[in-house]
């Protein structure tokens, strides 16, 4: 993980992550970005649950293209609020999206198209405030459409259940905008819960999210998505999100949380060990189904 981040996510990189929406968010990689003190990242994603909030609070982020930044089951995102309302720890630039528009922007990137037109968001402040969208008349029937320009991330981080060594990575459960992000990105980092035999992948290629030649690095890291869930591997740790919400109300509280759960731990295996029985219970609950 540390090596993949060092080699493929430089300061200032445009990074798509959390692309499956609530599940399969690669928190372990977000934590490594904090440990390596990445700066000026430009994040792309639909909702991210608290992964974006964490990176904002740690001062890693300069820009965001996102539909939603918050804590899905607990409420508002305190670090995002502080950054936008007070410039703490720094000011960030936000381009507001909807889930459809971020999906279309990445789909355009995936298709090699300059933009995709939609009839969503017409007449809204969101469409205007984003700053990159353009309203136009369809050249075919003259109807109003909103043009969503392509987004091509430098790197998309995709968490999956399994991948072979080459990076043929298989994700099941809802994909959200994962496939569009992987195909639109210049490079993909796969974070796999387990290394799969190539024969397993080849027996079921519909689950593969993108061809392996898009993949720059495969990181095998069990439990990388905790506290978000990974289908058939582990359930969501709802209470962890709520603990994060309570702990990060103040900048000092956030700093203490980051020390405890990120900076004072050498890697994600240590994080899982610190979770202990709690982690085992989430895994057992999902594996037993």
């Amino acid at each position: 993980m540390a090596e993949a981040v060092r080699r493929h996510v430089p300061d200032g990189a445009r990074v798509a992550l959390g692309c499956a929406l609530e599940p399969a968010i690669p928190f372990a990689l977000a934590h490594e970005l904090v440990r390596q003190e990445r700066r000026d990242l430009r994040l792309v994603g639909p909702i991210s649950d608290v992964a974006f909030d964490l990176l904002i609070g740690a001062g890693c982020v300069a820009e965001i293209d996102a539909a939603w930044v918050g804590n899905v089951s607990a409420g508002l995102a305190h670090c995002y609020r502080r950054a936008m309302e007070q410039g703490v720890p720094r000011r960030i630039t936000v381009r507001d999206h909807s889930n459809f528009s971020i999906g279309l922007a990445l789909l355009a990137g995936a298709l090699g198209a300059p933009y995709i037109p939609t009839r969503s968001l017409l007449g809204t402040d969101l469409a205007r405030a984003n700053g990159t969208f353009r309203e136009a008349a369809s050249p075919f029937d003259g109807s109003n459409v909103l043009l969503i320009p392509a987004i091509e991330p430098d790197v998309a981080v995709i968490a999956v259940q399994r991948s072979d060594e080459d990076g043929n990575a298989q994700l099941w459960g809802p994909w959200g905008v994962s496939q569009e992000a992987a195909l639109a990105a210049k490079a993909v980092i796969v974070v796999a819960d387990e290394l799969a035999d190539p024969a397993v992948v080849r027996a079921d290629p519909n689950r593969t999210i993108a061809p392996a030649f898009k993949v720059a690095a495969v990181v095998v890291q069990p439990g990388a998505c905790h506290p978000s869930p990974l289908q058939d591997r582990y359930d969501r740790d709802h209470e962890f999100f709520h603990e994060y919400h309570r702990a990060t109300r103040t900048p000092d509280g956030f700093d203490a949380w980051v020390r405890e759960w990120v900076l004072d731990l050498p890697d994600h295996d240590a994080y899982l060990a610190k979770l202990g029985d709690r982690w085992e219970a989430l895994r057992n609950k999902e594996m037993a189904r």
Partner: protein
């Protein structure tokens, strides 16, 4: 049965807005439970769509904290991509959608982006649209669910994240929106219907009143001539709600 809370009245009312056989963009929190109630009472063949890429013809068997919980995937009939689900919405194949927001105005515009005059320097930064702006743009009918107070039901919202009915008749069609826009606004105090693109109080919940709604509403309240008390949830419906959300995680969190 213990005393009914506003969250339960809202869920029961939201469930009534789902008709049998309809395709519904479900959303999280209270609408999720409304879908469960509708499926188990009057709308057994309603279909639930979830924007991260899930279609279900049966609600998940356990309480969901997010639409991406593994329990919502298991037993799904389709698992796909966000753009696939949004595409169905954009094609006009989805009957109704649910959304909530921080602020709403008389036109049914919702703000889920930021409070304050300047988007770049907000007084309160909110999480944002998620899929709400798409649902409000594209669903045939929109059901809005919100806590009711004067700071939230405002004359004009600070930022239109999701489009309502606009300044005048025909606005939606003129700007190119194909969906029908808000049909109902369900709050902690009452139910508003949209007539000529403006919210009109249709009913007040048990324990509330027209005066109380007026006092807590930031626009000049219009009241339907047949305004009445909202039908309270039946014992059957309460049993379903409390069976699904036994600790009131969603129904008793003050929404």
């Amino acid at each position: 049965m213990t005393a009914v809370v506003p969250g339960e009245i809202m869920v029961a009312q939201a469930a009534r807005e789902i008709r049998d056989g309809e395709r519904v963009f479900v959303g999280m929190r209270l609408p999720l439970i409304a879908f469960v109630v509708a499926k188990r009472t009057h709308a057994p063949s309603a279909i639930g769509l979830f924007e991260l890429g899930i279609v279900r013809d049966e609600p998940a068997p356990e309480l969901l904290y997010t639409m991406g919980d593994p329990a919502n995937v298991r037993g799904a009939t389709w698992c796909a991509r966000t753009v696939d689900l949004m595409g169905l919405l954009a094609r006009g194949e989805v009957d109704a959608g649910f959304i909530g927001g921080a602020e709403v105005d008389q036109r049914g515009d919702l703000n889920t982006t930021a409070i304050g005059a300047d988007r770049a320097h907000p007084t309160v930064q909110l999480p944002g649209s998620g899929g709400a702006a798409d649902i409000a743009s594209l669903a045939k009918r929109l059901i809005v669910i919100m806590p009711h107070d004067k700071r939230r039901l405002r004359e004009r919202v600070d930022f239109i994240t999701t489009p309502g009915h606009g300044p005048d008749r025909g606005w939606r069609e003129r700007v190119g929106l194909r969906g029908g826009g808000p049909s109902v606004l369900i709050t902690t105090l009452g139910v508003f219907r949209f007539e000529d693109g403006r919210a009109v109080l249709a009913s007040y919940h048990p324990g509330a009143s027209v005066d109380r709604v007026r006092a807590e509403t930031g626009w000049d309240l219009r009241v339907a001539s047949d305004v009445h008390e909202t039908e309270p949830p039946s014992d059957t419906v309460l049993t379903i709600i409390r069976g699904y959300d036994p600790h009131g995680f969603w129904t008793r969190r003050g929404e």
